[in-house]
Symmetry: C2
């Protein structure tokens, strides 16, 4: 395959497929999507965060964020609230059910990061994290 195996873009795509598989294997049978747990995770740490802020932080496009939020609201996992100070915006927070859901998912989510599942040593994992981070955030957030 020549220089293709030198292409970061190509390699990253392969890695993502693998991590995607790991993700679903880790949540064996449970119906979660990567985007879902990501949002729940952030809202647990930042209750009442603005929808747009969360989207920006997670690199999710506004249009997609709207759909994601609608699904999570529909599933009863998060709640929307329009604050009187700025009635254009929407504040998001976990419902009780959402909190329970996250606690259910948390162990499996953390387990996926393990040497056992990824095949990388903790040292390699750290290194990889740091390099990907450097790649993903060129000179530290814009």
């Amino acid at each position: 395959m020549g220089a293709l195996t030198q292409s970061l873009g190509f390699l990253i795509r392969l890695a993502q497929v693998r991590l995607y598989d790991l993700f679903f294997a880790g949540f064996d049978g449970v119906d979660v999507k990567p985007g879902e747990i990501t949002v729940l995770w952030v809202l647990d740490l930042n209750p009442g965060a603005r929808q747009g802020a969360v989207a920006r932080e997670l690199n999710i496009k506004p249009a997609h964020m709207t759909k994601l939020v609608q699904r999570l609201v529909h599933d009863g996992l998060i709640a929307r609230q329009v604050p009187p100070e700025d009635r254009r915006s929407v504040l998001l927070s976990l419902t009780e059910q959402g909190k329970q859901r996250l606690e259910t998912l948390r162990p499996a989510f953390l387990a996926i990061q393990t040497a056992e599942s990824t095949g990388l040593s903790p040292r390699e994992t750290d290194q990889l994290r740091s390099l990907i981070h450097k790649l993903a955030f060129p000179k530290d957030r814009p």
Copy 2:
């Protein structure tokens, strides 16, 4: 964002978004898709390869490969040929136009891998490649 920034899956997604941006910035204005150049690249090195073999090698699902091939054939970049030995299979190769196309794209494609665009030193890039490779191919291809 807590342990989220420790999640390889999350980081890889961010990295892919960034590489995607780099990709399109690199081919400024030219209408290419990552999947397209990947296939052209492989067929240049392996003329007459079987469609299924290429798909397997590139981790592209058969169903998606069919569409991709149809598009490339429609664009006049590759040609299909059914060999008499096994009339179920399809052999792919670049057309003259496909070869020209690849030569047009090649410099920009190689330039994307550069320190200048990724922000990583050659040493870091090598390290990252090797770690991603290890992640993507657990114990060497199944």
